[in-house]
């Protein structure tokens, strides 16, 4: 009995060892492939970042800006810029407007609500018109395709092809489907 137990232990030990060894080997293989992939990816990343850094150097960007940007940036000095409020005259006009309660009117809730409503309405109108246009285009596309497909199905060619196939079947000639 004791010998049998020892034998069983030995055999099971052998089996388990081989199983574990096999599993370890597979894991090692997987690790190897993963490491390889990581290495390749890190090399790619390093090269890509190097490309990025080279392409975004200030020197290259300024060159690209010179060649491709249409905007002609002008350098203005402070004294070259005219001020929006030119003189005291304008200020007087503004004061008058203030005294006439024009600004107060502008600030009232009614005015604000009215304007916002108008703005919202305008916005919805714009979106509506935009949606309508989109629908129209969609309809055109939808109308075009069925017409084409109808033409294909109802064409005489298809009918002729079906007739020929039936004839061939009667005569014993092998039919070639979807010629």
């Amino acid at each position: 009995m004791r010998n049998i137990l020892i034998l069983i232990t030995l055999i099971s030990g052998l089996i388990f060892t081989s199983l574990i060894k096999n599993k370890t080997r597979l894991l090692e293989k997987e690790l190897f492939y993963l490491d390889n992939e990581i290495n390749i990816l890190s090399t790619d990343l390093s090269e890509a970042s190097l490309d990025f850094h080279y392409l975004t150097t200030p020197k290259r960007i300024s060159l690209l800006a010179k060649n491709f940007l249409n905007e002609n940036f002008m350098h203005y000095k402070e004294f070259q810029i005219k001020k929006s409020i030119k003189s005291e005259k304008d200020l007087v006009v503004l004061k008058k407007l203030k005294n006439d309660n024009t600004f107060n009117k502008l600030n009232t809730n009614e005015f604000v609500n009215k304007n916002t409503n108008e703005f919202v309405n305008k916005k919805t109108n714009v979106t509506k018109s935009f949606d309508d246009n989109q629908l129209l285009i969609a309809k055109r596309i939808g109308n075009k395709n069925p017409q084409k497909s109808k033409k294909i199905i109802s064409s005489k060619k298809a009918q002729q092809w079906a007739g020929i196939q039936i004839l061939k079947a009667f005569l014993g000639i092998p039919t070639v489907p979807f010629k």
Binding site: E28, L31, F32, D35, N36, N39, S42, T43, S46, E47, S49, L50, H53, Y54, T56, T57, P58, K59, S62, K77, E78, F79
Partner: protein, 581 residues
């Protein structure tokens, strides 16, 4: 007598062994004995074999066992992968700027070499090489092949060149991969980064001084430099070089509280990707290695020494200032006609040489010398780069005090001047210039050299040099940036004689002066007057045909343009400063 076989011969009738004939009996052994012997020898043999096999297995087991123990004991986690997967580990770490822009990186590139022993068809090989490299000197290659030694035909191949050579499938062409250092900014940081040799070892610049860190550390080296600022400053210097036809120029931008250098440009520079031997002294790093007499920028130190020692006040009047004096047989004169009576402040604002001499004389040699020494202007600076100049030694003899007061007869590096200005600007705190990014480190604890009061007075004086109409640096008065600074025009010494035409023009500025944050030093080497250049005054007045060649007419222009461009990037609270004006 026993015979040879060990048997007793008495039984064979005393016939001597030699005289006896052959008898089978003599060789017969009893059957039982024979069988016993046979059995014994068989067992012995099989036992020997078993023990031998056991020994072999034991040895094999020991070998494998020791290998298993070794594998278990080593620390490397990726033992298997390290052995099998091609390594991508680089020999040198990256160098980044303060915004993590890449300044230097190692990449694997291919070089093409020829192994003359393996050449089968020389003519075909040469034709192929000529097709791939049309500019290659084929005769030189031919000669080298004839010598028969292994040689390189081209290093750092492009991908296309490598592919073409690889597709040739020629055994004699050796395409070996090697790590090379790549600098995406080409020449932008040439004087700072330096170069490496073929073995990936630093030979100059940061590559040399931080060689150990770059090769052993796992983290990249992060610098305090800013690539965008560096580019802008370089562009402005190049533009200044073109306008004023200079021999070279340099600029340094530094934070005055931390000592972190944001930009260090020295022109002419060189492309780091084309590794070459640079021997011409024109290529030296003018900021750190160049040792110059920098002229009137020293007057600021004279004023600071006077204020700090209590010898003068800002409004102390110096009367009867002569236009020229003789010192040690040499005439010292003013650069322009100046009033005879000037206050200490006016002496700095109008850059009076004679006034500076009078202040220095009032301070006295001992105190003046001590003050300059406390700013560490005449000793070799401790800096991150190895390329650091040593100021020329001198003795405080007769007339030295007088000449030193306006920056002549004494030399130092522009880096040390910038450092001294930073100390004066930041409230008198000692700083150490650095090129490495040091996050959250306040360097203000290193000791105070001048008082806050003196610092504030000097700052307000420096502002007047720029903002005052009679100041020498009015072209740098850029609205919104509160620039303050001091100009310096020094004649170059050629063969021991002061040249009249060749000058070193410098402008050191602090901005925004109400609470200084940055020091900018701009230096032009041998600028020429630019009569065609249109000078624009802040009032809108334009001037052409100017032939003066002092710092105020060239270096200040360049510095002003730089501040105007970098100001928005540095975000010096332009609007707030603007509103204060």
């Amino acid at each position: 007598m026993p015979n040879k076989k060990g048997k007793d011969n008495n039984s064979s009738n005393h016939i001597p062994w030699r005289n006896r004939g052959f008898f089978f009996e003599d060789y017969e052994t009893p059957k039982y004995e024979y069988k016993q012997k046979l059995r014994f020898s068989e067992v012995k043999l099989s036992l020997n074999r078993i023990s031998f096999i056991f020994f072999v297995f034991l040895v094999v087991g020991f070998v494998f066992g020791s290998k298993i123990i070794y594998l278990a004991s080593i620390k490397k986690k990726n033992y298997f992968t390290n052995k099998l997967v091609p390594s991508v580990f680089l020999k040198r770490q990256d160098i980044l700027d303060r915004n993590n822009n890449l300044l230097a990186r190692n990449v694997k590139l291919y070089s093409a070499a020829i192994k003359p022993r393996f050449i089968t068809d020389k003519g075909k090989l040469l034709i192929n090489l000529k097709l791939i490299f049309p500019n290659m000197d084929i005769d030189r290659i031919k000669k080298k092949i004839e010598i028969g030694k292994y040689f390189y035909i081209k290093k750092r191949l492009s991908e296309l060149e490598w592919k073409k050579l690889w597709l040739l499938g020629d055994k004699s062409i050796d395409l070996n991969g090697k790590q090379f250092r790549v600098y995406p900014h080409e020449s932008l940081f040439s004087h700072v980064l330096g170069q490496i040799d073929d073995d990936n070892l630093g030979v100059s610049g940061l590559e040399k001084s931080f060689n150990k860190k770059l090769t052993e550390s796992k983290n990249p080296l992060i610098l305090s430099l800013d690539a965008n600022l560096q580019h802008i400053i370089r562009e402005e210097l190049i533009s200044g070089n073109n306008i004023f036809q200079t021999l070279g120029s340099a600029a340094l931008l530094m934070e005055i509280d931390s000592g972190e250098i944001l930009s260090l440009v020295s022109l002419p520079d060189f492309d780091l990707n084309k590794r070459t031997n640079i021997e011409d002294p024109i290529y030296l790093n003018k900021i750190t290695k160049g040792v110059y007499e920098l002229g009137s920028v020293f007057k600021t130190f004279t004023l600071a020494a006077g204020l700090e020692s209590g010898s003068i006040k800002a409004n102390t009047v110096f009367r009867d200032l002569k236009n020229q004096i003789i010192c040690g047989g040499m005439p010292i004169s003013e650069h322009d006609e100046l009033p005879k009576n000037l206050t200490a402040e006016e002496i700095l604002v109008r850059s009076s040489n004679i006034g500076a001499i009078r202040i220095a004389q009032k301070i006295g040699v001992k105190r003046y010398k001590e003050f300059l020494n406390s700013l560490e202007l005449f000793e070799k600076i401790n800096f991150d780069l190895e390329e650091v100049g040593t100021p020329l030694s001198f003795k405080w003899e007769k007339c030295k005090l007088e000449t030193a007061s306006f920056g002549h007869g004494i030399t130092t590096t522009p880096l040390q001047i910038a450092k001294a200005y930073a100390i004066i600007g930041n409230g008198g705190h000692k700083i150490n210039p650095t090129i490495l990014l040091k996050k959250n480190i306040s360097l203000r604890n290193e000791g105070q050299i001048i008082s806050l009061k003196t610092s504030n007075i000097i700052n307000s004086m420096l502002r007047k040099v720029v903002s005052n109409k009679k100041g020498t640096a009015s072209f740098a008065d850029k609205k919104g940036y509160e620039v303050g600074g001091k100009t310096g025009t020094a004649r170059k010494v050629i063969n021991g004689i002061y040249s009249k035409e060749k000058k070193i023009n410098t402008f050191v500025s602090l901005f925004p002066i109400s609470k200084p944050k940055y020091v900018l030093l701009v230096m032009l080497d041998e600028p020429k007057s630019a009569p065609d250049f249109v000078y624009e005054f802040s009032s809108g007045y334009k001037l052409t045909g100017e032939t003066r060649n002092t710092a105020g007419w060239n270096t200040v222009i360049v510095a002003g343009n730089i501040i105007e461009k970098i100001g928005p990037i540095l975000a010096t609270n332009n609007l707030q400063a603007y509103n204060k004006l």
